[in-house]
């Protein structure tokens, strides 16, 4: 085996199997043509000339790489990469959001102190890390398969169609995603202030009044067990008021305020879950109903109210999850930050 044979064999090792023999033959033909031109007379070329020629032709890996670019030498190519990036952002945001909600529920069970709290946090961090890696791996796998099938061409067609049909008029109806919803924040402030005033100054308002035998009877809807959480509710309420007030001043969302918003939402959810998981926070029980003279449907009514904490809990968790995931999507939605201050 002479030097040229060895060189071609080495190039072949780095070539895609499909066209290997053809490319090898072409390189051989070219090298021999080049050699013919360089050597003197009809005899075989001396080794120094061959070595010089091969040196000029390039390292085997380098030469093979110039042919390889037409083949699938990448997992996900440039035509699919933008969609891949978008899907990764969305899926990772959802995984993170779902994981944060799981953390919220976990912490509501363990509380915010003690070794259980630390181990819950540790487990959550480990779970989130492996969850993110697994999600990313699965997306890469799916896209690598799409890249190698007809589906990639369909994607390309769909995008081409979208670009062709795009109308600048659509921008008019597009709301600015960074502008805050003023009504939402004003309502948050009003209801938080009202809630804090009622819970702290007029808790008796939260009771059921009932006219029985000509006299008014009352019993509180919320029990002492609920009011044990009042300091935390106050902290949470004030936090909401301060945050919404700050956002009304800012008018637009930034990455920092979005993160703070998520943290406030999750803290609120943890508190709500902690309260709702505490037994006996609602005062509407069979005994209470009987005491005010409701006897006929008391059993059914009290059973209905016993499901109330679970129902509210489910609503709170779902609503917070949706809000957190939406915020995370905005946060990692792929919009790069402006290099200069934006005045809106």
């Amino acid at each position: 085996m002479n030097l040229i044979d060895k060189y071609i064999a080495e190039v072949g090792r780095h070539l895609p199997r499909k066209n290997r023999a053809d490319i090898e033959a072409e390189i051989r033909s070219t090298l021999e043509d080049m050699l013919d031109e360089r050597k003197q007379g009809d005899g075989p070329a001396n080794e120094a000339i061959v070595m010089q020629l091969l040196k000029e032709y390039g390292s085997p890996r380098e030469v093979a790489a110039t042919y390889g670019t037409q083949q699938h030498q990448y997992l996900i190519g440039p035509r699919l990469f933008p969609i891949f990036e978008r899907v990764v952002r969305i899926v990772l945001a959802i995984v993170t959001g779902a994981s944060l909600i799981g953390l919220g529920v976990g912490l509501a069970e363990t509380g915010l102190t003690g070794p259980e709290f630390v181990s819950t946090l540790g487990e959550w961090a480990g779970g989130l890390f492996s969850g993110l890696i697994a999600a990313f791996g699965n997306i890469v796998l799916v896209f690598a398969i799409i890249e190698r099938t007809q589906a990639a061409k369909e994607f390309e067609k769909e995008f081409a169609k979208e670009s062709k049909d795009w109308d600048p008029k659509e921008l008019k109806s597009e709301p600015d995603p960074d502008r805050i919803d003023m009504a939402d924040h004003i309502a948050t402030i009003i209801f938080s202030v009202l809630g804090l005033i009622v819970l702290n100054l007029y808790p008796n308002l939260l009771s059921i009044r009932f006219l029985s035998d000509g006299t008014w009877s009352t019993f509180p809807v919320l029990t002492k067990a609920f009011f044990r959480f009042l300091p935390w509710i106050n902290v949470m309420g004030l936090l909401q008021i301060v945050f919404s007030g700050f956002m009304l001043g800012q008018r637009v969302w930034t990455s920092t305020t979005r993160i703070v918003g998520i943290l406030v939402d999750i803290a609120g959810m943890i508190l709500a879950v902690s309260i709702l998981r505490t037994p006996g926070v609602f005062g509407i029980t069979l005994g209470a109903l009987n005491s005010i003279g409701i006897t006929d449907d008391a059993q059914d009514l009290s059973r209905l109210f016993s499901y109330l904490p679970t129902l509210i809990l489910v609503i709170v968790v779902i609503a917070t999850s949706v809000k957190v995931i939406k915020t995370l999507l905005r946060l990692f939605g792929g919009k790069s930050s402006s290099p200069y201050p934006v005045i809106k």
Binding site: A25, S29, T30, E32, D33, T69
Partner: protein, 110 residues
Amino acid sequence: MENDELVQNILLELRRGVLSIAVLSQLSKEEYGYSLLKALSDKGMEIDQSTLYPLLRRLESQGLLQSDWRIVDEARPRRYYIISPQGRTVLTKLKREWSTMAETLKQMLS
């Protein structure tokens, strides 16, 4: 030194863009890789073999060239390339576009 490198990089991109037209224009009669390399070089279009061969394959896969292996005059087997009918149509269009582009740039630079 830094400017020289920038100039070289821009020239490289520029040449890469026009290489397809140059190669198609020289294949109205059939050539094998090395003879094409020489023909281009003789006309002042220096091109590296590591650029030319993959380019020939790409143009062929796009249907603009045809090729076959042959032994001519008892020499070694060589792959001969020639422009295809589709390649000819494309080249005519490219020539027109190139003339317009060159004219525009000439006006800009004068």
